[in-house]
Every structure is written in structure tokens, then in C-alpha cells.
Amino acid sequence: MSNVVKNEIASHELPATPMDPAVMAKREEKIQVAMIGLCGCWGCTLSFLDMDAGLLSLLDKINISRASITDIKRIPKRCAIGFVEGGVANDENIETLEHFRENCDILISVGACAVWGGVPAMRNDVSLEACFKEAYIDSPTAVPGIKPVIPFHEDLPLITTKVYPCHEVVKMDYFLPGCPPEGEAIFKVLDDLVNGREIDLPTSMNRYD
């Protein structure tokens, strides 16, 4: 993000009560897993939670690092596995994705948006100008009598001209399509990786919607 020099503090930088050293030591030994959402609807993240009891069975082996569930804003320690939901639609997405690539050994595209752009990519067949016009200038919900404005501020991410799948920005190692993929499918992939098996998602679990 271009605004890091400003006087801002992220939640993970705030002073906090130190954790029990024994718990921390145990956490350090585990396989670090991260997950983030780019331009998506967070449905895939909900699917991640849909692993339910499956997730519990893995918690002896994995520690969830940066993720929307933990509210950790930067990856504190190199991760073995990173899940990415959503495609790339602005400069903040690019920065986050690159941060993940630099800090994760294996990076996985989760869901239609990460795999090919998904619903946000429906704007790819119109120009960015037309997009902004539709959203802010000629919007049917624009407040009458008020001059319409296209939001522009240094704190706002810059929108990219097109929406890109993650693998067109950085190298992605695996792909898990679906809108969203079932929790069971995410569990199968994670379980395979954690237990050192080659990822083998059965045909019956592969879904594009």
C-alpha cells in the first residue's frame, strides 16, 4: 500500500499481553497456514470455515496465521501454505498477493475469482471509464441534486483496468475452482498437503459454480 509512511498503526502492531511461552513454542512448530481474500465476496473464506470439525482435526498440525479469522494483518512468520480467494482488481490486491507469494511456500487459488476472475471479471468487457460512470455518475441510486463524484483519494486503492486471475500476477501452485468450493474440497487439499501427499481432488468434488 502506498500509504505505509503515514501515521497509521495496524492492529497486530498494538501492544498486547504476551502469550504463554509454552503455547507460543508449540505454535511455532506447527505448519503455518494463511488465507486472504482479494477481489471476491469472502464466500470462499466461509467455505474455509465450513471445514468444521475437519479443521479441528488439523489444528494439532497447523496454525492459522494471517487470515480474516485471526485478524493478523501481515504474515508474521513464513507460511508453508497460503490460500488466496478473489481476483486482482486494484493495486492493494497486487500488493497483498505479492506479500503472500514472498511469504508462502505453496500458494493456492481458491474459487472462481482467484482462478479466472469470476463475477468481478464481468466488467472486463467494458472500459473502466464506463464502469465508473455506471457506478457513480449515471447510477440509478445517485442522490438527486448532488454533483456526482468518482471517489479518488490516496487512501483508496487504485482500480486496475481489467480484473485478472491471480496466476496472471504471481505464480500460483494449485487451483481449486468453485463458487465457492465446498469446505470438504478445501479440507481435502489442506489434508493432502499437511500429510505430505500429492493433491488429488476427486472429480466428484471439482465444481465450477
Binding site: A112, A121, N124, P177, C179, Y208
Partner: protein, 235 residues
């Protein structure tokens, strides 16, 4: 008359002249296809059923059985080639499964699952194609057309036999067209047939969409592979 052919090293008795793709499915060997319909003349447009016959890659729906055939179907390079052909179809148009009425009963999607496609290795093109909703009963969603030509050949005016659908232009400019006058004369049964034989969600019955809940849709109940191998694609 029968002859002996070899598929992936397995000796098979097959009737001379019968399409290779049919012989394969009768012998429990699934070859994915998007344009071929058993019992109908082959179109040979999608090439997804490509196999190697005596060293040459051919679309198996276009090859009649002859003596001394040695066929490879499941060799890793052919499996990957068929997958790549399906990926081509996905990047060529705009195949937005999450927002498509045909999802769950779409042959392209089902064949994508069978070939193990997770992502396309080619850049997505996002072409701009206009929709055609001029006809009374049919919504033509051109984004999804894969130019299989099933509708062009098999859906014709019941009185005159004239074609109702046609393909205009070539290559990236190709576009599926509908003769609105003839289309408006179509019986509800024929409209349903047109929508059913479309292997993607291009020909959409205006009265029908999202009618089956997720989990109860055609290829969720039974995969396309099972259907083709049983010889009952639509039951």
C-alpha cells in the same frame, strides 16, 4: 462384419464402419466429447474426443472402425491434450458458471470435470459478444457458444427443413445467429430440444432457468461419464 481392434493394448471385437467413439463407450472406455451425439451424423467440430489411431491424432467420432486399428486413448499426452482442448473452449468465450442457468446440466462443465480441468493454462480472452433476445422463446447467450454446430445441423424448421441457427463469419469473429421468423414458429417441444442439445448455456429457453436446486441438477445426480457409458445420456 466384425474385426479385431486394439484400444490401449486391449483387444476388442468391433463392427467395421461403426464410429470409434461408440465402440469405445460400448467397451466401457469413456472418451469425452461435446459435439457428438450417438445416432446422429458426426460433426467433428469440437475435437475433444481426439485419440491416436495408428500413430495419428484424430477425432474419434469422425473415424469409422476398420481392420488393424491400434488406438491409444489414455496415454498421458492425449489425456493432457484433450484437457487443453477443453481449456481452449473455456478461455475463448465467457464461461461464467456461477451465473449461468445451464450450470449443473452443462456438458462443457461436465466434460471439464471429467478431464480434470481446474484452471485454463491459456490467458482468458474475455471477448465482447452481444446477446440476441429478439426471438419469442429463445434467449441466445453468445458468450457461451462453443460453435459445436449441433443446433445448426439438428434443429430445423419442421415444415421446410430450413436451418434456424447458423454461424456467421469466421475465427474470432464467428457468431451464432438465429433466424427469428423461423424460431418464432418453433413448437415448445422443439424449443426444449434446442436448449437441451446445446452443450453449453447458449440456447436458453426463455421460460426456464435455475429450476433445479444445487445438488439435484443433471450431472450432479449422475456424471456425464456414467451416462455416456450406460448409453443413456439423458436419463
Amino acid at each position: 462384419m466384425n474385426t479385431e481392434i486394439t484400444i490401449d493394448g486391449k483387444k476388442i471385437q468391433a463392427q467395421i464402419g461403426k464410429p470409434l467413439i461408440d465402440v469405445a463407450s460400448d467397451n466401457n472406455i469413456y472418451i469425452p466429447s461435446l459435439c457428438y451425439m450417438r445416432g446422429k451424423p458426426c460433426l467433428g467440430t469440437c475435437r475433444v474426443c481426439s485419440v491416436r489411431v495408428n500413430g495419428h491424432v484424430m477425432a474419434s467420432c469422425t473415424v469409422p472402425v476398420y481392420e488393424g486399428m491400434d488406438i491409444e486413448v489414455e496415454t498421458p499426452d492425449l489425456v493432457d491434450m484433450r484437457k487443453a482442448l477443453v481449456e481452449f473452449l473455456f478461455v475463448e468465450g465467457n464461461h461464467n458458471c456461477p451465473s449461468c442457468e445451464k450450470s449443473g446440466r452443462c456438458e462443457l462443465q461436465a466434460v471439464g470435470y471429467e478431464t480434470g480441468m481446474m484452471v485454463a493454462r491459456f490467458p482468458y480472452r474475455f471477448p465482447v459478444r452481444t446477446r440476441d433476445h429478439a426471438s419469442k422463446y429463445i434467449w441466445l447467450e453468445r458468450d457461451r457458444c462453443i460453435f459445436c454446430q449441433r443446433c445448426v445441423e439438428f434443429i430445423r424448421d419442421e415444415e421446410t427443413g430450413q436451418k434456424i441457427f447458423s454461424i456467421d463469419n469466421r475465427s474470432t469473429n464467428a457468431s451464432i445467429e438465429i433466424d427469428v421468423e423461423l424460431a418464432d414458429k418453433m413448437s415448445p417441444k422443439q424449443v426444449k430440444r434446442a436448449a437441451d442439445i446445446c452443450p453449453v448455456g447458449c440456447i436458453i429457453d426463455k421460460d426456464l432457468g435455475f429450476n433445479k436446486p444445487i445438488g439435484e441438477r443433471k450431472y450432479e445426480i449422475k456424471s456425464i461419464k456414467e451416462r455416456i457409458l450406460k448409453g443413456k445420456p439423458n436419463e
